[in-house]
């Protein structure tokens, strides 16, 4: 009985912030000390759906940046992770790949900015994507490297022994086998870009506006309703993924298991 009550309470606590954001995004007024908004309005959502106020463009831009970074990172990491997994210095390479995550994204942004200014990449979408790729590519390799086990190696060898060319091995053996994990990787790397604020702020140099940047702008200008609307838009894609298949996110927990003491 107590356990059931705890399960229900915990479920409530986990859903509460989402409900609160939803209410905030449709509240016209929410005076103290009311627990629910006094009046509701749908202005923010109507404006968004009508594409006025530029929020629609920002959503599309953020989605485009996220999709581009995820596709690039996953594609490159699929090939690179194979080489890392079979390299004599695999452990050292993996340590190296964790380093971009050690310093905070602010330090990463600050350190990359001078280089990106020199390369005329600062203030451009391409520059923001490249900066995010540093994190996304490294993360994707860390995620995929464990997949290249001896069983996969045997299947590769078997395909070659049966006459498959290099291209066939990749397209007809490895890609179909790895598809579920590649989907996980695509989502996770998309989220790295989709959630990024600091790198976009610093490398974007105020010229690249994404949803996280817009959320901060609304927040600092005191418009918490529009900030909540942005927050819900930020949460929508990963929550959809969670509803469709929560295993797409479980890698977030499984990946660090590689770090555990044996």
């Amino acid at each position: 009985m107590m356990r059931r009550a705890l399960v229900w309470s915990l479920s409530g606590v986990l859903v509460l912030p989402l409900v609160m954001l939803l209410l905030l995004s449709v509240a016209r007024s929410w005076p103290w000390p009311a627990l629910l908004p006094a009046e509701l309005q749908t202005r923010q959502w109507r404006e968004l759906l009508a594409g006025t106020g530029g929020l629609g463009v920002i959503v599309v831009r953020s989605l485009g940046i996220g999709a581009g970074v995820a596709t690039l990172a996953t594609t490159l990491a699929f090939a690179s992770s194979r080489s890392v997994a079979r390299h004599a210095r695999r452990d050292q390479l993996l340590v190296l790949l964790h380093l971009p995550f050690a310093a905070s994204s602010v330090v990463l942004g600050v350190s990359l900015l001078y280089l990106f200014l020199r390369l005329h990449l600062a203030g451009h979408i391409a520059g923001v994507m490249l900066a995010q790729l540093v994190l996304a590519y490294a993360y994707a390799v860390i995620l995929l490297v464990g997949w290249w086990n001896t069983e996969v190696q045997s299947l590769e060898d078997l395909a070659v022994a049966l006459g498959a060319g290099r291209r066939d091995v990749w397209l007809r053996v490895l890609l179909p086998l790895a598809r579920p994990l590649l989907m996980v990787c695509l989502l996770q790397t998309f989220l790295i870009s989709w959630f990024d604020y600091a790198l976009t702020l610093l490398i974007g140099d105020g010229q690249v506006t994404t949803l996280t940047v817009t959320l901060y702008q609304y927040f600092s200008s005191g418009d918490l309703r529009l900030a909540a609307t942005c927050a819900l838009l930020l949460l929508a894609p990963p929550i959809c993924a969670l509803v469709i298949n929560h295993r797409l996110l479980s890698a977030t927990v499984s990946t660090p298991l590689d770090l555990q003491g044996d």
């Binding site: 490294a138 390799v141 479980s250």
Partner: protein
Amino acid sequence: MNSRKGLDPWIGLLLVVTAAPLLAGLGFMLLYSTGVIGLLAEGFTLRYWVRVLLDGQTWISLSYSAAIGGVSLGASLALAFALQAALGGRQRKGALGRLLFLPMVVPPIVAALIGVELLGNAGLLARLAHAIRWVDRPEDFPALLYTPSGAGIVLTHMMLVVPFLLLLLDRLALHESVAALEQVARTLGASRWQAWRRVRLPVLMRASAAVLGVYFVVLMGAYEVPLLVGAQYPSMISVLIQRRFSQFDLGTRPEAYVLASVYACLATGLLLALFAARARKRTRERGA
């Protein structure tokens, strides 16, 4: 395992995209912070380094970041252990099994917004406190946000970290067969508390040590949450670096680079020490 001769092009590309920008960035930071390059460069000087290293705010900010990271992680870990014991496996079943993933899809900037709406003086908790007649006015509710204690930062971090740690501990417990080990301890006469304290706790702490270490480094360098719910002073290190970097006075930029270099070296050193300790442990265990 194959030992490759020469540099594999895919590893080369990986290093060019991930490690090379980091090293180049660090190089630029060092050159900028020593006055060799930059808009106001006047030739090599260590005055920015001396100024930052002698500035008490640098060390306060670093210690504050470490303390906030440590307290956030410690409190989250304690709560995750308590919930694991109280739920007894129910976290794997039904809706809760999926809902625990929910905080993992919340970016820090949204978590900060939720923190403000939940923990602020006119937030939902304050309104609930009013509903149960604990407070009359918003200012009667204890200040949790923008305070030097960092309570708002810790609580917001906990919202994100506790579910992750609960899921992690659960998976580790299954992986390490902790339930079976506890059962053996109980059969040998251990009480429930003794089985938890002498079996579950040490096994899971040992298994999760490296992950917790990485998480500590990540929390120490947090940016969005302290920016939105933290105090102006003391600031966590990422916020301090960003503020110095974005000031109109370009003279503070080399100082921002000094701070960023110091923090990058510290965080990287911590992570490398963590991996080195793990590698030593593995070697010892293989030798045993």
